[in-house]
């Protein structure tokens, strides 16, 4: 039996196989090109909405023209908010997958700063004149607990009550409606339920499927309108602890319970459908099937030219009212504000180029273009004063005016988990599985887990 050739063959075969194995194992990830800036952003789950895609394509063109030899690679992530965050965090964990520039919600930015996913950009900002134009509250939105700044906000938002004038007319309610208390809001919904059959009287986002929309557009719009409007009802800055459910918290849950118990809201099964938000904006409001919507200032971006469900008449058919405080106590109205920022990952391959791209996006003209396209509220003083911005779209003035009485979320690292605890409490009273009292105690328990026992009763 000739052994030698077999031996040689075996050795050769093994070597080849091992070589290809190690090659396969070590093939590099994305391969970062020093002349390409990779930009990750959240693409709308509604295929017909291309606002951000078009805006970024335009900036890309400007940037590549101004910086010959540099390229921009846009990396859209098409997902609902909560899944977008997850995907992004996974990308940020490794230098192989980290983009150069990411679109970060202020809701999560502190959490990601703590994880060390983002790069402080103070040095860049120091040499950038436009930064002085940004209003202080917006600058604070992207500040970490270490006092450094980690992102450039691209606008903010406020929230209020949208109502269908057509439904109101049928119900015999005034076209210049402005409720003074929660009860007046509920009474209007009851009137609609009674007089306009086949219409959902009111929508308040609720439950885990709606995610942060339930917490912020729903619950916090209520909670921050309880009490004296002074101290933050969720987080105690003095002791750096989270506040357990008190009277205001239970009253807010009571409001949600009333909406769903009295059938003043959508069917519970619809309200707990993860895609319900898309339905509210794309179908219910434009088709006049919803009376009152407690919702954000950005809604019109879904109805602009080229959005797929254009609705140029929205400004004639919808009215706007500020969300009142619980009993009409000062300041009489309430709004929440969030917003998104452009941030540079700690593991970005080309941070300098990424900041150049931010600068291109945030020239006065481009920033203004973006606010208008995205129905955003300006965070730049020069734009806010510009009549062409104020008059660009109906509603801008109304929502920009709300900034005076708006509240920001206590977006500390534990906030996302606290938010889930809020959604669970809301869901409990929405389905009727829990009483307000039970849901509030459930929140207290969940809060301890979410914050590592950093809780305080007030």
């Amino acid at each position: 039996m000739p052994v030698r050739p077999t031996v040689r063959f075996t050795a050769l075969f093994t070597l080849t196989a091992l070589a290809s194995t190690s090659l396969a194992a070590c093939s590099s990830g994305s391969g970062s090109d020093p002349d390409t800036v990779k930009v990750s952003f959240k693409q709308s789950t509604d295929n017909s909405i291309k606002v951000m895609d078009e805006y970024l394509a335009d900036i890309k063109k400007q940037f590549e023209k101004a910086n010959p030899g540099k390229k921009v690679e846009l990396v859209p992530i098409k997902a609902p908010d909560s899944e977008y965050y997850t995907k992004l965090q996974q990308m940020l964990r490794s230098p192989k997958t980290a983009p150069d520039l990411v679109y970060e919600d202020t809701f999560l930015i502190n959490s990601d700063i703590t994880s060390g996913y983002l790069k402080p950009i103070d040095d860049y900002l120091a040499g950038w004149k436009d930064w002085d134009q940004f209003i202080d509250t917006a600058k604070a939105a992207a500040k970490g607990e270490d006092g450094k700044t980690y992102g450039v906000p691209d606008g903010t938002d406020t929230r209020g009550l949208w109502f269908s004038k057509d439904v109101f007319a049928k119900a015999g309610l005034p076209a210049d409606w402005q409720p003074k208390t929660w009860d007046e809001v509920l009474d209007a919904a009851r009137t609609i339920k009674e007089k306009v059959p086949g219409v959902t009287p009111m929508n308040v986002y609720t439950g885990k499927p709606a995610g942060e929309a339930a917490t912020m557009q729903g619950f916090e719009m209520l909670l921050y309108g309880t009490g004296d409007g002074g101290a933050d009802p969720l987080y105690d800055k003095g002791s750096k602890k989270w506040i357990t459910a008190g009277q205001g918290f239970e009253d807010s849950l009571g409001f949600v319970e009333t909406v769903y118990k009295e059938k003043l809201g959508p069917e519970v099964s619809d309200a707990l459908d993860p895609n319900f938000g898309t339905k509210v904006r794309g179908e219910l409001l434009p088709q006049g099937k919803l009376g009152i919507a407690l919702d954000g200032s950005w809604l019109p971006q879904d109805w602009l030219e080229g959005s797929g469900h254009e609705w140029p008449e929205w400004s004639k058919e919808l009215g706007l009212a500020a969300m009142p405080t619980q009993n009409g106590q000062a300041p009489g109205r309430v709004s929440m504000s969030g917003g998104w920022t452009w941030a540079i990952p700690a593991k970005a391959a080309n941070p300098d180029l990424a900041f150049e791209f931010i600068k291109t996006m945030q020239t006065k003209a481009n920033a203004q273009k973006w606010y208008v396209a995205n129905s955003g509220i300006s965070v730049r003083e020069d734009v806010a004063k510009d009549p062409s911005y104020v008059d660009a779209q109906p509603g801008i003035e109304f929502f920009t005016d709300l900034v005076a009485d708006t509240h920001y979320r206590p977006a500390y690292p534990a906030y996302p988990k606290v938010s889930v605890a809020v959604q669970e409490a809301m869901e409990g009273v929405t389905t009727g599985d829990k009483s307000v009292e039970e849901a509030a105690r459930g929140y207290d328990e969940a809060l301890k887990g979410a914050t590592g026992n950093q809780v305080v009763s007030k």
Binding site: T14, T21, S82, T86, S111, G207, E267, S269, D270, P416
Partner: protein, 313 residues
């Protein structure tokens, strides 16, 4: 559920060569070493891509690793596991997982698969082809597609209610009222084909003489089934139950598309609970610990089947 790397070279590898003197033993060692060489790339690959992640998983189950909001993770021992057993949502998920598995795999897919297979034994060829075709179609559909189809079937304005309305029967809203039943049904609809194929093959193995003899002796259909058919296909039953259960335990996409585990966690089986903890609450460590517990449940089922049926799978 043991995952031994195939092609490990046997105990000889670990022995040091006896002496440089080329005796018959050292020759054997060298030869077996040499024979192990060609499989080494496969072993390296397996260690890298299979064993590596598994070991990593086990390690992070004992840490408080988070996806975000944490500067440094630390070792927390069994905290994640004790936490799970105190967590109502986890216990709810375990219960629902058992309900889902028993309903859709043990009772649904298994029985229906056997029934279809036995009926098809006696059916004419065109009927067989048609039935088999339809059932297998449901099986080859991607999970997400099947999920959407059944979501469209069950939802409030869906096909099922349209049919019920047309028959003047009261409408249903199972996705909301009995979501675990709706997703179990969906899993039966999708997975029965597999059992049917396994049992068809098994029934074809039974010698005709045996059943004919029983028939001549006057045994009724049920008795033939119970005393002859079932004992003869015992091994296939074991194999099928095992595969089915393990598949059903890890169903994620179907439920995710239909209900996302909702409303209020009424259809949140363990894989969905895991996903929520790990990716939505960013508690990777806790989620991984739950994954290991799911693995444990799977192996418990397997042990029970092996014991009950004493088959060598």
């Amino acid at each position: 559920m043991t995952a031994t790397a195939p092609g490990h070279a046997g105990p000889e590898v670990r022995k040091a060569p006896a002496s440089p003197a080329s005796g018959p033993r050292s020759g054997t060692v060298r030869r077996s070493l040499f024979r192990a060489l060609p499989v080494s790339p496969a072993v390296v690959l397996l260690l890298l891509f299979l064993a590596g992640p598994i070991v990593y998983c086990v390690v992070i189950a004992f840490t408080d690793l988070q996806l975000t909001g944490q500067a440094q993770e630390s070792f927390v021992g069994f905290d994640n596991f004790t936490r799970a057993f105190k967590d109502e949502a986890f216990l709810n998920a375990v219960w629902l997982t058992l309900v889902f598995t028993v309903l859709s795999s043990l009772i649904g897919q298994n029985t229906l698969g056997l029934a279809l297979a036995s009926l098809m034994q006696r059916a004419s060829k065109p009927v067989r082809t048609l039935t088999g075709g339809i059932v297998v179609t449901a099986w080859v559909l991607p999970e997400v597609v099947a999920g959407f189809l059944l979501y469209a079937f069950f939802r409030r304005e869906g096909t099922l209610n349209a049919i019920l309305d047309w028959l003047h029967l009261p409408s249903q809203n199972w996705l909301f009222t009995l979501p675990i039943l709706a997703v179990s049904f969906a899993n039966v609809w999708r997975g029965t084909a597999f059992s049917m194929l396994v049992y068809s093959a098994a029934l074809n193995e039974i010698p005709k003489e045996v059943t004919e003899a029983a028939e001549v002796d006057g045994a009724s259909g049920w008795r033939r089934m119970w005393h002859i058919t079932l004992p003869m296909i015992r091994r296939s039953i074991g194999t099928n139950l095992m595969l089915n259960t393990l598949q059903t335990l890890s169903v994620f996409g179907l439920i995710w598309v239909m209900t996302r585990g909702g409303p209020s966690g009424k259809s949140q089986t363990l894989p969905l609970f895991m996903y929520e903890q790990a990716f939505q609450n960013s508690l990777i460590g806790y989620g991984t610990a739950v994954a290991l517990l799911l693995l444990l449940i799977g192996s418990l089922f397997s042990v029970v089947y092996l014991r009950l049926l004493r088959t060598e799978v």
